[in-house]
């Protein structure tokens, strides 16, 4: 007690600050940092969940490097990112841009776009999975067959499966992106548009010279947000392909699903940890690049 009384006010403030910080610090150490560190160590070990762990050096990483499935999965993961992010951003911008001008039933339409975002990804994936089935149960193929067209193999084709899985994932995220874009659009001062109107510039110029440049912070935020989302895609893929997770022939398998499969079906915890470290590194690099872009503003 005496010791405390002898402290200066600023020292006391520091002591209290650390007292309050202790809880979140402890929480992060136990819940985040310890498991993360453990995963790093595990990636150099062999472990089947039972029994003892044994060190194997870089074996897991060498195996990863030589595993054709890993490279296929690596490509898929980036395909989800490269297709998913631009398509969802362009779509949501177009929707937001036009929705912003609609007055008639504005709230209802906006809600309709937002509902998929609130729906459980699992339920949605299963409904889409059934949509995609061939005749006699798939809605899309039944429609095509009624019109006399041939069937399209959605999920059971190595080329169509990935876009088919991606489509509902994009659709689900659209509502959120639309809302953010609309907030961004509303934040642009009306005076710029008034000035443009007085100068008589075309609406294309207004869009490309005023709206889009001023939306940059919104765009950067959404790019970061949706890239991380697509890099971590799992629910949609897993639920739409549970019979053959990530199939056919690994054509839809993302990194997270590979990790899950290695860890909890193959019980190869060390190898799974090595894959996790790779995913962590990718996410870190992508986030760092995007943070740098943010700072350039």
């Amino acid at each position: 007690m005496r010791f405390y009384q002898n402290l200066t006010i600023s020292q006391k403030q520091i002591a209290w600050a650390w007292t309050f910080l202790a809880l979140p610090v402890l929480f992060y150490v136990v819940i985040r940092f310890y498991p993360t560190a453990n995963a790093f160590v595990l990636s150099f070990q062999e472990w089947n969940l039972l029994g003892a762990r044994s060190f194997t050096g870089f074996d897991n990483y060498v195996r990863l490097y030589n595993d054709p499935v890993f490279w296929k999965v690596f490509r898929n993961t980036f395909l989800y990112l490269i297709l998913g992010t631009p398509v969802s951003l362009v779509l949501s911008f177009i929707i937001a841009y036009h929705l912003d001008k609609v007055r008639f039933m504005h709230g209802t339409i906006r809600a309709l776009y937002f509902i998929p975002f609130m729906t459980s990804a699992v339920a949605m994936a299963w409904v889409w999975r059934w949509f995609y089935q061939p005749v006699p149960i798939g809605v899309f193929n039944n429609f095509l067959a009624t019109l006399g067209f041939g069937q399209i193999e959605f999920l059971s084709s190595t080329t169509n499966a990935l876009p088919s899985v991606l489509a509902p994932a994009i659709w689900a995220g659209l509502g959120f992106q639309v809302i953010i874009f609309m907030a961004g659009l509303r934040a642009i001062p009306q005076s710029y548009y008034e000035a443009a109107r007085i100068d008589g510039v075309s609406s294309w110029t207004v869009l490309s010279e005023i709206t889009i440049p001023l939306l940059k912070p919104t765009v950067v935020f959404l790019v970061v947000f949706s890239s991380i989302g697509f890099l971590r895609i799992f629910d949609q893929v897993y639920n739409m392909t549970t019979n053959n997770p990530g199939g056919p022939l690994n054509s839809t398998k993302p990194l997270v699903l590979l990790i899950y499969d290695t860890a909890f079906n193959g019980f190869n915890m060390g190898y799974a940890a090595a894959q996790t470290v790779v995913l962590f590194t990718i996410l870190l690099i992508v986030s760092l690049i995007q943070l740098r872009l943010l700072r350039d503003r």
């Binding site: 039972l50 029994g51 061939p134 022939l249 079906n265």
Partner: protein
């Protein structure tokens, strides 16, 4: 027969004597713990068994704990080395190696469970639970495959009996297949799906029926990249590619197509019975798997086993042995069959007049006599090798022999990786 009976009586007597000796030292009550994963019917059945066991052994209480399937393995692995958790534990037969290696379970004492007697009493596939001179675990119930057929579709097609062999299977499937005007399948003659039970059907049944043996050296060496294997895979692939009586992933899942009445025949395990019984308006029957070209019959069986953990010692061990003995009695097996729908693991319990003539369980039980159990190193990985093999042929037009060779290499790699330790 008489000799065998007297041998049995002797062994039983010896076991009882050993146990009485063991339990004589335990005057006070013992509590042992039993763990299994959560599946409602299994819990109900086990509650019944525990109740019966406790009535017969008033000085022992059994506490059952169950976990969701996902968490099961981790919990077991964490608890036993810490000296906690179960004395008797349930595990999938394919996990035995891992459990033994991790020293989570101990061998069943040979005086209470003499290997010779087990081999005489149980169906032959239970041999997979023997390592060296000891048995490490024993099942109460097993599951086998059979052919489900849609009675109404059979009647409409004028078929009066289920297929007895593979030729009949193809012929009947052709009669049962329905297509719309544009040639799209609206009902398949036979469901197929490598991701369901078909990889077992090919491995342990078709390959053997075409004269092959799927694995050598106790399932450590892949042996289907040869003529017999190719014949089996070609037969399977032709069902879709040549005869057009099926389509992989038709209606998403084979069992869904059968439930919806859009599949004439469907190969599945005995665990499907419960689900089919609750489908209204579906009239179905069960038959043994069709025999091969030369009349060979084969089947695949899998099972969950119970084992005594390495944590059980002294009086708890004695109680655990008693409990294990009860779990492997005919009575326990009949209760399990009636509650869970899984088949008794011993011919004495399974092959009773009542069970064998049961229209639903009968064909499954007959299959047990010639069923095999694949010893998997990584079941999902090994299944994937077969799934990919068929899809390379179907989706990428790869030649069957190349695809089989590629799959054999991939599967051998999994096996080598597992057994290298």
């Amino acid at each position: 027969m008489k000799l065998m009976n007297s041998f049995r009586t002797f062994m039983l007597g010896a076991a009882t004597a050993a146990l009485t000796a063991a339990s004589a030292t335990t005057a006070s009550a013992v509590e042992i713990e039993y763990w299994q994963y959560f599946f409602e019917a299994r819990i109900t059945a086990m509650e019944k068994l525990i109740e019966n066991f406790e009535t017969a052994n008033p000085d022992i209480t059994v506490k059952m704990t169950h976990f969701p399937y996902d968490a099961y393995r981790t919990k077991v692995a964490a608890a036993i080395p810490a000296g906690q958790g179960p004395d008797v534990v349930q595990l999938f037969y394919g996990w035995l190696n891992d459990y033994v290696e991790a020293k989570l379970i101990q061998p069943l004492p040979a005086d209470a469970f003499p290997p010779a007697k087990i081999e005489e009493d149980f169906f032959p596939m239970v041999k997979a639970m023997r390592m060296g001179d000891n048995y490490w675990a024993l099942p109460t119930a097993v599951r086998s495959l059979a052919l489900f057929y849609n009675q109404r579709m059979f009647d409409d097609a004028g078929i009066d009996h289920p297929p007895a062999n593979l030729d009949e299977l193809v012929e009947m499937a052709q009669k049962l297949t329905q297509k719309d005007g544009a040639g799209n399948l609206t009902a398949v003659g036979l469901t197929t799906g490598m991701t369901a039970q078909d990889h077992h059907w090919i491995r342990e049944v078709l390959i053997r029926q075409y004269g092959g043996e799927p694995y050598l050296d106790d399932y450590k060496t892949v042996n289907y990249n040869n003529e017999a294997g190719l014949k089996a895979f070609n037969f399977y692939n032709d069902l879709q590619a040549k005869h057009g009586v099926t389509k992989a992933s038709f209606m998403d899942e084979p069992q869904a197509a059968f439930k919806a009445g859009r599949a004439g025949m469907h190969i599945d395990g005995s665990f499907r019975i419960g689900a089919l019984e609750s489908v209204r308006g579906l009239k179905w029957g069960v038959a043994e798997l069709p025999a091969g070209p030369d009349g060979t019959k084969s089947n695949y069986a899998s099972y969950w086993v119970n084992a005594i953990t390495s944590k059980a010692e002294g009086e708890k061990l004695a109680a655990a042995v008693k409990f294990m003995e009860y779990l492997t009695t005919d009575e326990a097996m009949q209760i399990w069959l009636e509650t869970v729908g899984e088949l008794p693991a011993k011919p004495s319990a399974a092959m009773t007049e009542k069970n064998i003539n049961d229209p639903v369980y009968g064909p499954f039980i007959k299959g047990l006599e010639y069923a095999r159990t694949t010893v998997f190193a990584d079941e999902s990985g090994q299944r994937q090798a077969m799934v990919d093999m068929m899809q390379r042929v179907e989706l990428q037009g790869q030649a069957m022999d190349e695809s089989v060779a590629e799959a054999a290499t991939a599967e051998q790699k999994i096996l080598d990786g597992y057994y290298k330790k």
